[in-house]
Symmetry: C2
Subunit: 498 residues, 2 copies
C-alpha cells in the first residue's frame, strides 16, 4: 500500500469569528444560566433543548432552492447520491426552533406552553470586535395565549431574573411599548390603510432611532422635508405634514412619571384609531397586572420611546436596560444599555400549520449581562486556583497523592504538581500561573519529622510587593505544622484569605 503524501502541519487556530472560553468565563456563565433557569422554573416554565441542527426548510428565512442557502446561517446539504439531500443549518436563534417544536408536538404539549431554552446560536456574519459567530441566548416564551397576562408575566419574570443574578432594583429598567399604538397613530393620520403605512411605520422607526443623535428638531426635519447632516449630505425626509410630525414626536415623548400619565398621553395621541386604542388598552392591562403583583415604576415602566424590535413584533415589546453608569478605558462615562428584549409575535407557528398561534417571549443576552456584572465588580473574572501540593521527592508521589485526597475529601480544591519536579522554582511558578492560594511542601526532612510546610501564596505575594522587612518578619507567610494538621491549617489560611 502506498503511503499517503505527507501533509503540511495544520494551523492551530480558532476559526475566524469564534473564540475559546477558559475557566471562570465558562463557570460563571454556567452559574448564571442555572440561576436564570431557577427563576424561569419557579414561574412554571419547562426546559426545552432542541438540537443545534435544523432543516433549512424549518428555519424559514433561508430557502433551499438557491444554490448556496447559507446567507446568514451556516448550512450544508445532506449527502445523497443524487445530490438531492436536505439542506441543514445551525440554528440562528431559539425562537425558530421553538416554532418548529410547537408545531410538531402541539398535541402532546400543554396549551398554553411555557418553555425556556438556553444555549449557543450561530450566525454566519462578518465577525467584528466583540461580535462572534457563536453566542449564547437564554429565552423564555409562552405559546398559545393572546392574554396580556402572559406578557405581564414575562416582564415580571425578567425583572425578577435581573435582581436574582445581581442587578439590584434601581440599576435596571424594563421598558414596555406596543407596536399597535404606532400602527394606529399612522392609520389615524391617513384615511386609507394602504401598503404605504407599513413602509411609513418602518421609516418612522428608523427616524426615531436617531433621537439621541439629532434631537427633536432633527427628528422633525427627518419626518417632514428632510435634513442636511454634518457632512453636508442631504437625508430625504418622510414628507409628513408639520402637524403629523408633531403627533409622532408626541408619541415618542409620551413617557411621563407614572404609567397612568403615560397612558393618558398615548390615548390622546392615537385619537380615534381602533388599533391604537387596542394597543393602549393592552399596555394598561399589563401595567395593572404588574402593579397587582407589587412591581414599581422603577422596575417596569411603559415607555413609547422604545422602538427597537417594534418592526419585528406584532403587539407589546419589552426591553431591559441597565441604567447604571460604567466607565470606559479612557474614564468616560457611558451607559451599559440593553441586556434583554422581547415581545409578542403571533404568526410564528402559522408557517407550519396554517393556524395562527399567539406567542410572546423574551431573550436575555447572557454574555452582556456577565460583562456588566464584571464591570461593576460584582463577579471577578479571576477565581482562586487549587491548593498545589508540590513534589520534593518523586519517589514519594503516593504520599503527595494521599495529601490531595485528604484535602479534596474535606471539600478543598487541590492538586499535586504533575510536571517534572526537578526544579522547585518551576513548581512555584506553576502555582502562580494557576493562581493557587496555598502551596504544600514536604521534603525528606519534613517527612522524617512528621511535619509539612504550608505557604500562604496570596499573603506572600502581598508581602513581597509592599512589606517592610519588619512586617515581613512579623507576618510569616509560611507555616510548619504537624502532618496531621494539614487539612485544618489549609482551611484556616483559606478562610483568612476570603
Amino acid at each position: 500500500m502506498a503511503k499517503p503524501k505527507k501533509q503540511p502541519r495544520p494551523k492551530a487556530v480558532t476559526p475566524k469569528g469564534f473564540r475559546d472560553y477558559f475557566g471562570e468565563e465558562v463557570t460563571q456563565r454556567t452559574e448564571m444560566l442555572r440561576t436564570i433557569a431557577g427563576v424561569y422554573h419557579r414561574y412554571g416554565f419547562d426546559a426545552l433543548e432542541s438540537s443545534a441542527v435544523e432543516t433549512v426548510e424549518a428555519l424559514g428565512k433561508f430557502l433551499p432552492d438557491v444554490d448556496r442557502p447559507n446567507e446568514g446561517v451556516f448550512a450544508w446539504q445532506e449527502f445523497d447520491e443524487n445530490d438531492k439531500g436536505d439542506w441543514m443549518a445551525l440554528r440562528y436563534d431559539l425562537t425558530a426552533p421553538l416554532a418548529r417544536v410547537y408545531a410538531q408536538h402541539r398535541n402532546d404539549l400543554p396549551t398554553p406552553y411555557r418553555r425556556y431554552a438556553m444555549g449557543p446560536v450561530w450566525r454566519n456574519e462578518k465577525p467584528g470586535p466583540g461580535r462572534y459567530r457563536q453566542f449564547y441566548q437564554c429565552d423564555a416564551d409562552t405559546v398559545g395565549t393572546a392574554s396580556m397576562a402572559a406578557d405581564a408575566e414575562i416582564c415580571a419574570m425578567l425583572s425578577d431574573t435581573l435582581e436574582t443574578v445581581g442587578i439590584p432594583r434601581g440599576d435596571y429598567l424594563v421598558r414596555v411599548n406596543n407596536r399597535k399604538v404606532l400602527n394606529g397613530l399612522v392609520k389615524d393620520m391617513f384615511s386609507s390603510e394602504s401598503d404605504a403605512s407599513e413602509e411609513l411605520v418602518a421609516g418612522i422607526l428608523r427616524t426615531a432611532d436617531k433621537f439621541d443623535k439629532v434631537g427633536v428638531e432633527g427628528v422633525k426635519q427627518l419626518l417632514t422635508k428632510g435634513r442636511e447632516d454634518a457632512s453636508g449630505a442631504f437625508i430625504e425626509g418622510l414628507y409628513l405634514t408639520s402637524l403629523q410630525a408633531d403627533r409622532v414626536i408626541e408619541f415618542l415623548l409620551a413617557k411621563a412619571d407614572t404609567d397612568e400619565e403615560t397612558l393618558r398621553n398615548l390615548r390622546a395621541v392615537v385619537g380615534g384609531s381602533p388599533e391604537g386604542s387596542e394597543g393602549v388598552a393592552e399596555l394598561e392591562s399589563i401595567s395593572e397586572l404588574l402593579k397587582a403583583q407589587g412591581y414599581g415604576g422603577d422596575q417596569i415602566s411603559i415607555d413609547p420611546s422604545v422602538v427597537r424590535g417594534l418592526g419585528y413584533y406584532t403587539g407589546p415589546v419589552y426591553e431591559a436596560e441597565l441604567t447604571f453608569d460604567i466607565f470606559d478605558e479612557k474614564g468616560r462615562k457611558r451607559q451599559f444599555g440593553s441586556v434583554a428584549g422581547g415581545g409578542r409575535y403571533d404568526d410564528l407557528v402559522k408557517r407550519f400549520t396554517g393556524q395562527e398561534v399567539p406567542a410572546t417571549g423574551v431573550s436575555i443576552g447572557v454574555d452582556r449581562l456577565l460583562a456588566a456584572l464584571r464591570e461593576k465588580g460584582r463577579i471577578s473574572a479571576q477565581a482562586k486556583g487549587p491548593v498545589v501540593v508540590t513534589v520534593m521527592d518523586r519517589d514519594r508521589m503516593a504520599d503527595y497523592q494521599a495529601m490531595v485526597a485528604e484535602l479534596r475529601n474535606a471539600g478543598i480544591r487541590a492538586e499535586v504538581y504533575l510536571g517534572n519536579p526537578k526544579n522547585f522554582g518551576n513548581q512555584l511558578k506553576y502555582a502562580d500561573k494557576r493562581n493557587s492560594p496555598i502551596a504544600v511542601i514536604e521534603g525528606g526532612d519534613e517527612k522524617a519529622n512528621g511535619i509539612v510546610q504550608i505557604k500562604d501564596l496570596i499573603l506572600g505575594a502581598k508581602i513581597a510587593e509592599s512589606a517592610t522587612l519588619e512586617e515581613w518578619k512579623e507576618r510569616p507567610s509560611q507555616f510548619e505544622v504537624p502532618r496531621g494538621d494539614l487539612v485544618a491549617k489549609v482551611r484556616e489560611i483559606l478562610d483568612n484569605q476570603d
Copy 2:
C-alpha cells in the same frame, strides 16, 4: 415589486437522527453535568469551552482536498468569491478541539494543563434506534505530563464522580489495562519488530472482543487455524502457534483477585520484552498510587481483559462499567455495561507543533449514565409540575397574578392558567397535563367570603383510582382556607405529598 411565489408549508420535523429534549430530560442532564464539574473542579481541573465549529484542517481526520469532506462529520465550505473558502465542520468529539486549543494557547496555559469540557458533539452517521447524531460528552484530560500519577488521578476522579452522581461503591468498577503490555507480548513472540506486529495486535484485539461469544476454545481457534461459525462460514485465523495463542489467552485471563496477583501474572506473560515490562510497571505504579489514596479493588482494578480502546490509546486505558443488573422489557437480566472510557494518547498535539506532548484523559457518557440512574429508579423522569392557580373570573386576572406572585416569592413553583378560562374542565385537564400537584380556585363566592379552595390533585387522583366511598368522604382532597393562609396551606400539602 412582484410578490414572491407562494411556498408550500414547511414540514415541522426534527432533522433525521436528531431529537428534542423536554423538561426533566434537560434539567436532569444539566444537574448531572454540574455535579460532575464539581468533582473535576475539586481535582484542580479548569473548564474549557471551545466553539462547536472547527476548521476541518484542525479537526484532522478529515482532509479538505476531497470534494465533500463530510464523511463522519457535518462540514461546509466558507463562502469565498473564488470558492476557496475554508472547510469548516462541527466537532465530533472534545479531544480534537483540546489538541487545537493546547497547541494554540500553550504559552499561556499552565503545564501540565488539566481541563474539563462538556457539551454536545456531532456525528454524520446513519442514525439508529437510540443512536443520535448529536449527543453530550463530558471529558477531563491532563496535557503535558507523562507521569502515571496523572493516569491514577483520572481513575480516582472517575470513581469519585460515579459515586457522587449516585452510583454507590459496588455498583461500578473502573478497570485499567495498558496497551504496552499487549504490544510487548506480541513483540516478544516474534523476533523482529516488523510492521506485521501492528496488524497482529489489531487482529488479537478483534479476536479478544469475541470472548463472550465464542469462549476460550473459540478464541484459541481464531488465534490459530481459524474457526467455522454457527452459520457454517469459515473465519480465517491469525495463524499463531498453539503456544503463542496460549500466551495471548493467558494475557487476556490474567485478572486475579488482587492487583498484586494480576501484575504477577502479567509479568510472567510479557517475558523479557522491555515494552511489556514497562507497561506492567506503569500499571503497578497506578495501582500503588490509588491504594495510597484509599481506593479499593472493588472500585478500581487492573484488568487485562479490557480491550476496547487498546487500539487507539498508547499506554494505560481505563473503562468504567456499571456492574448492577437491569431488566429489559421482557424481564431478562442484562448488564448495563460501559459508561466511561479513556486512556493515554501521546501524539495528539504533535500534528500541530511537531513536538510530542503526552496526555491522558477520560470521557463520560452522560446520557448513558442518566439512563442507568433512571432504570435503577434513582432519579425519576417525571417531575412535579407547578401549582396552577385557576381563573374563575377573567376580569380578576390581577388577583390571580397576585396569588402566584405570593407563592413564587415563598419559593413555590406556581403559575396562573393563561388559556381561555371559559371551560373550567379544560383548566383541570391542563393542570393534569402539567403534572400539577395542586390547583387553587377562587370564584366570586370565595372572593366575597375571603377564602380560597385548594385542591390536592395527587391525593385526588389516588382516591379517584382506588378509594371506596367511605375513604373518599374521610380523606377530602379539597380544602377551603382563608385567603391569607394560601401559601401556608399549599406548602403543607406539598410537604405531605413528598
